[in-house]
């Protein structure tokens, strides 16, 4: 259908539309008009992605000079591919309606592992191996060497791309990862570099967060993207953690040992080169004196060693004299390394700020701040000069030099914690130096500054106001949308007591209490008897789940559950869990029914959807608080309190509730879907917890379902499931939660729609 969104003609590739989609597009349009940023929460399964794409593409067509590009960031590879498929659908609709093929270019970009078509390289299993192998075939100096020695191995796909691929732009169309590979095979071009090259002139780019948020990657891939782009972060409820992760470094004794080896290798190589080709080193020295930026010589294939700090922090000066010659630099690295080793030999926990660390290093080994700042860049130059192919081997020394650059660049927002042992095993010495970022706004700041509109959206962003605070930006729109429903297809229940009136809670004091564990088991058992097909249960942590499973096993609860359904359990091994997941789906598919025991914050809770019969009930055992004893977390909480005036408890609750909402939201993926959401902890009934759930869940929790016993919950669930099992047709929804174009245009409906968006 064709929609009129405040004067903008929007093509929407479906015959019907949900009211909240219309409302969402309205808000989005206003954000784009204002050229500002937005925070939009919309329930999962209400067609968020297609609404986003429809509106932004329509906007792009209407105002090609205002918005030149859409950069769509998502979290996982399947999600990226889903976005592209939706886009394809939209584009097909466009060409059908307008009768002309539009010249839009849209493509997905992913790591080499997902795009490589070189027979040997792509058969490697791990992304790091693929990257390393690719680098050893395509790095600029390797290719230069090949001129003198044509027998060196070569990646013909890259050579072909380099020779012809750049002149011919990728023909307009929608390219998913597989399409790129197909195209690459047909032409004999490397799909990865083709994609990286093509994102510069593509209208729509879909890739993962890291390409924009991690300075090490963003600098290489996304540097030249136009300012007049709209950036969308989908599934953005965890964006602060992504930001923090990309700026944090951990150093263990093993890292230092490997680093030592790296430095030795560097030294040897320098000696060798000095004997054979001293001119090369002299040339490098000359370049460094003149302060020629590496960008001039860097080729796109020379990956890996981008600067870890954000672009605006990189010094535009020549490398200081103390580390200009190769030997001096290696000596410098050695000194730094020895210093770190001495720091790791502590017997007690040390916590200090970056300036303290710098002062200490100056006092002890006379290392200045300035050369430290150039450490990463200097190493980059050295590795290139030495023409080292296996760059993956030098990850340790790269890590150390990145740390050096980071710690000397940022004086605020970071903390250094040195722990001599793990808390759980105080007898085993395992010293770790955590250099951790506490301020997510540091990494995302350049994104907000550079691009005119940044949209942060997800199914669970409540409470909305906290994101602008921790990411430090000022949105022009903030809205939370409810889900209009013709039938109440979600049923949140808060189970606070067992049948024996024991209060259910995962709080620390009662965590080991057998009565609680037994009642939890009882809840799962009862549910397994009445819920059809799949049940997913989430625990607060892996250790907690292990303990509960063990004691359920001893009490014979699991055996009884097995009478009703098969049991699958998430493990810490991703491959094993994938298999368990597939088997779980198979068991749901063939009607046997299954239970998946899983962990909040785990991979399953973040990336896997349980649509329809794959998840008819989700049980959240306990409140998934983060492990509060961690020193890093404590430091971060302190920082949040001091800098952003966010109270510790508020943040912890917010964090726990967003994960709980993520978990239970996995089961509802649309209006035809239905599912129970069982919060098994009495603390959920409290207003401060409940109030932090997304609005579309919150509004279905009535006072009657606040503090249920297991039996009461079973009764309510039975009633709910019986109702949901009745046939549900399109006609039932039409006019209420599903609109035709005519219905949409009626005055009354437009009035209603304005109430869907809940502004904050």
């Amino acid at each position: 259908m064709k929609l009129n969104i405040e004067g903008l003609l929007v093509y929407f590739p479906y015959d019907y539309i949900y009211p909240e989609q219309y409302s969402y597009m309205l808000e989005l349009k206003r954000t784009l008009d204002a050229k500002g940023h937005g925070v939009l929460e919309m329930p999962s399964g209400t067609g968020k992605t297609i609404s986003l794409l429809s509106l932004i593409i329509a906007y792009q067509r209407a105002f090609p000079l205002e918005v030149t590009k859409l950069i769509y960031c998502s979290r996982t590879v399947p999600e990226i591919e889903k976005v592209i498929e939706e886009l394809r659908k939209l584009m097909e609709f466009y060409s059908k309606e307008t009768g002309e093929s539009n010249n839009f270019l849209a493509l997905a970009l992913s790591s080499r592992k997902n795009l490589c078509i070189h027979p040997e390289v792509s058969s490697l299993r791990f992304g790091k191996e693929v990257d390393g192998k690719c680098h050893s075939l395509t790095a600029s100096y390797i290719r230069a060497q090949r001129h003198s020695n044509p027998n060196l191995p070569v990646c013909r796909f890259y050579e072909e791309f380099d020779a012809v691929g750049r002149q011919v732009p990728l023909p307009p169309g929608v390219y998913n990862l597989d399409d790129l590979k197909d195209f690459g095979r047909r032409k004999g071009w490397c799909p990865y570099y083709l994609a990286r090259y093509s994102i510069l002139h593509a209208n729509i780019v879909v890739y993962s967060y890291h390409y924009l948020l991690d300075p090490k990657i963003a600098d290489l891939v996304s540097k030249e993207l136009a300012k007049k782009s709209v950036v969308v972060f989908d599934e953005a409820h965890n964006i602060d953690n992504v930001c923090i992760d990309s700026m944090s470094v951990n150093i263990t004794r093993r890292t230092l040992d490997r680093c030592q080896n790296n430095v030795d290798t560097l030294q040897n190589t320098i000696h060798k080169i000095k004997e054979t080709d001293a001119a090369k080193l002299r040339e490098e020295y000359r370049r460094l004196v003149e302060g020629l930026k590496e960008a001039n010589v860097a080729r796109e294939t020379d990956i890996y060693l981008a600067n870890p700090v954000l672009p605006d922090e990189i010094l535009q000066e020549a490398v200081p004299g103390t580390i200009r010659t190769a030997e001096h630099f290696v000596g410098f690295l050695r000194r730094f390394l020895e210093y770190l080793k001495s720091r790791l030999r502590v017997q007690h926990v040390v916590q200090e700020s970056a300036p303290q660390f710098l002062k200490d290093i100056f006092d002890k080994v006379c290392i200045d701040r300035k050369p430290l700042r150039f450490c990463a860049e200097r190493l980059q130059s050295l590795l290139r000069t030495l023409e080292i192919a296996d760059i993956a081997d030098f990850s340790a020394v790269t890590l150390i030099s990145n740390f050096a650059t980071l710690v000397s660049t940022y004086s605020q927002g970071f903390t250094i914690i040195i722990e001599p042992f793990e808390d759980r095993t105080p007898t085993i010495a395992n010293p770790v130096l955590h250099f951790s970022c506490m301020d997510p706004s540091i990494a995302i700041k350049p994104v907000f500054q550079r691009f005119q509109s940044v949209i942060i959206t997800s199914g669970t962003l409540s409470p909305l106001d906290i994101y602008p605070r921790i990411l430090d930006f000022r949105p022009v729109t903030m809205a939370s949308f409810t889900m209009t429903l013709a039938r109440t297809c979600l049923c949140p229940l808060i189970v606070g007591r067992g049948n024996d009136q024991v209060a259910l809670s995962s709080k620390f004091e009662t965590r080991e209490d057998f009565a609680v564990i037994r009642n939890y088991g009882n809840l799962l058992l009862e549910m397994s008897a009445i819920v059809p097909d799949g049940i997913v249960a989430f625990f607060t942590s892996y250790v907690y789940m292990e303990n509960i499973v063990a004691s359920w096993y001893e009490q014979g609860i699991l055996e009884n559950i097995q009478r009703n359904k098969l049991i699958f359990i998430e493990t810490q091994d991703a491959a094993e869990t994938s298999m368990a997941l597939e088997k779980y789906q198979e068991a749901c598919e063939n009607g046997r029914g299954a239970i998946l025991l899983s962990v909040a914050r785990g991979k399953v809770s973040e990336g896997i959807d349980f649509v329809h019969h794959f998840g008819r009930a989700v049980i959240m055992f306990g409140v998934p608080y983060v492990y509060t004893q961690s020193r890093i977390l404590k430091a971060r909480l302190e920082y949040l309190r001091d800098q952003f005036q966010i109270r510790e408890n508020d943040f912890l609750t917010f964090d726990a509730m967003r994960h709980a909402a993520q978990c239970v939201g996995r089961a509802i993926r649309g209006k035809t879907d239905y599912g129970l959401m069982i919060f098994a902890d009495k603390r959920y009934a409290r207003a401060d917890k409940r109030g932090k759930l997304p609005r579309w869940i919150q509004e279905h929790i009535n006072d009657g379902s606040l503090n249920l016993t297991v039996d009461e919950a079973v009764q309510l669930a039975k009633h709910f499931l019986r109702q949901m099992a009745q046939p549900f047709r399109q006609e039932d929804q039409l006019g209420l939660s599903l609109l035709t174009l005519e219905q949409l245009q009626s005055e009354e409906m437009l009035q209603k729609i304005t109430q869907i968006a809940h502004q904050t």
């Binding site: 539309i17 992605t49 498929e85 597989d178 049991i567 994938s578 597939e582 046997r592 299954a594 959807d609």
Partner: protein, 543 residues
């Protein structure tokens, strides 16, 4: 009745049945009992007919064994030999326990099939009631034709019988009971053993390797329950445990499954993340200590439990679908053994495409684009079953023909001139009028139609049933021709007597009843009369 060739497996003397002493015989295919001093069996049951056996509790004074048949009847034997009653009973029980399952499956399958057919087809059910329940023909004769027919016409239906899966909790059903003196007793049934074998092929292999050469069956299971394999949470201590190999084999199987990876890319957690952070970057949350050295005993036992549940569920699931999937598995095997990921790369996209499409589909946003269909609603299934009459070359009159002929008749009538000299006589005319007025001879046709209303529907129904039953019998009868084997000859004669019996027991009473009630409506009985005619033909044919 006892045929000579039968193999007698067990003879138990002094067994009482209905307060009569006698001897119990267990033979290859049946169990029989004969009273003392007589050489014939008064009780004889095929194993296939027996649903289950029950025994009296150990403490009871009377040592009894009861057989429950599929028909619901039961026979109780009382072992009366004072010294060895219990032993005798155990022997009989053990033997039956082995024999019954062999016959059970066959019998069950057939019974189920018959039941299904009767439930699905009301006409057949009626026929069954008319012929078998009233003992016109025996059940075997009735089914001999039917089942064969089903087999021939629709073999797929017969073969596609759904496999019964395995209960997920079959191991839980083996509840250990204390026997009072520091021991445990496990009750194993044939079903459970089969479940174990189907779920854990490794155990089955061990069983066939070791039983009965090295171990007795009992020892085998004792060891099984003692093993680390069964109690996966215990830490392995004994090295002579024959099941430790099984555990290793399972481990290997699990690992190969894991290595093979998953087919559905949407659940592949390994490739979910697009760009993992390099080692050393990121906020390290409590690092999972995966190495076994770091684990405490408790942790590793917990881990073993979790692994075991995953494995158990996977095996149960696989056991349920093993048969159907073998070809597919082989296909995937060959593609993966190539060692080159190229192949899997080419195969992958279709699955992926489909899954992706599924994932982005919003069925309620789309107008249903397939044409609206009307559900088939059959009021009279038999009419549907008979199907349309084949098209015969018929003389159709076109509308032009009809108009022509009407014109012609009109024209004739217009030119009609009565020839008064040659009219019929008055008597003939009046008799013709009588014949043509209602109730007259020539108006019988009209009256006949009224029978439909005159005769109540139950009589009609009964007539219909009789008709169908007669048809069925005749079908049996005619299927014997040409009579070229002694067996067929015998059958023809039997069928003839069946037909006669049918006439005697069913048709004649019906005829009488009808005649008593509806004297005037002879016509309605034409069917039965014609049957009598058929019978006479039949008799002549046989002679």
């Amino acid at each position: 009745m006892a045929s000579l060739s039968e193999e007698v497996l067990l003879v138990v003397k002094k067994v009482r049945q209905r307060k009569q002493d006698g001897t119990l015989y267990l033979m290859a295919e049946r169990i029989a009992w004969g009273p003392e001093g007589k050489d014939r069996f008064t009780v004889s049951h095929l194993y296939a007919d027996i649903r289950c056996q029950k025994i009296s509790p150990d403490g009871k004074a009377k040592v009894q064994l009861q057989l429950v048949l599929h028909t619901g009847e039961s026979t109780t034997f009382h072992f009366a030999n004072e010294s060895s009653a219990l032993k005798d009973r155990e022997a009989a029980k053990e033997l039956l326990q082995q024999l019954l399952p062999k016959f059970k499956k066959k019998a069950n399958k057939e019974l189920e099939e018959k039941n299904r057919m009767l439930q699905e087809d009301p006409v057949l059910f009626q026929l069954y009631k008319d012929l078998v329940v009233s003992q016109v023909i025996s059940a075997e004769e009735f089914w001999a034709n039917r089942l064969g027919g089903v087999n021939n016409t629709d073999p797929t239906l017969f073969n596609n019988k759904q496999e019964v899966g395995i209960s997920g909790a079959f191991l839980a059903d083996i509840r250990p009971q204390t026997d009072g003196c520091n021991g445990l007793r496990y009750n194993l049934t044939a079903d459970i053993i089969e479940s174990i074998f189907r779920t854990y092929p490794a155990v089955k292999q061990k069983y066939s390797e070791n039983v009965p050469h090295n171990l007795t069956e009992k020892e085998f299971w004792t060891r099984f329950f003692q093993s680390h394999y069964f109690h996966r949470d215990r830490i392995n201590t004994g090295t002579q445990d024959i099941f430790s190999e099984c555990a290793k084999q399972d481990e290997k199987g699990l690992k190969s499954l894991v290595v093979q990876g998953v087919k559905n890319p949407l659940v592949d957690l390994l490739s979910l993340e697009d760009k993992t952070l390099d080692e050393g970057y990121g906020v390290s949350t409590t690092q999972p200590s995966t190495s076994n050295a770091n684990r405490t005993v408790k942790e590793s036992s917990n881990y073993a439990i979790i692994k075991r549940f995953n494995h158990h569920s996977a095996m149960v699931l696989a056991a349920g679908s093993r048969k159907g999937e073998t070809p597919a598995d082989q296909a995937s095997e060959t593609s993966s053994t190539d060692g080159n990921s190229r192949d899997s790369d080419f195969f992958q996209p279709p699955v992926k495409k489909v899954k992706l499409q599924e994932a982005i589909e919003y069925e309620d946003l789309q107008r249903e684009n397939r044409p609206k269909t009307v559900a088939l609603n059959l009021k009279k299934s038999d009419r549907y079953a008979h199907g349309p009459v084949p098209l015969q070359s018929q003389q159709y009159t076109t509308s032009q023909d009809i108009i022509n002929s009407v014109n012609y008749i009109r024209h004739e009538m217009a030119n009609y001139k009565p020839n008064l000299t040659q009219v019929v006589s008055s008597t003939a005319a009046s008799s013709a009028i009588v014949a043509l007025s209602p109730g007259g001879v020539l108006m019988q046709a009209g009256a006949q139609q009224a029978i439909n209303q005159m005769v109540p529907s139950e009589v009609q129904g009964e007539l219909k049933h009789l008709y169908v039953a007669a048809g069925e019998l005749l079908r049996h009868f005619w299927s014997c021709f040409p009579v070229n084997t002694p067996f067929l000859e015998e059958k023809v004669i039997k069928m003839k007597s069946n037909l006669e019996r049918f006439q005697m027991t069913k048709l004649c009473p019906f005829q009488d009843k009808i005649q008593r009630q509806y004297l005037s409506t002879n016509v309605s009985l034409q069917v039965s009369f014609s049957l009598v005619c058929v019978l006479s033909v039949v008799k002549n044919g046989v002679r």
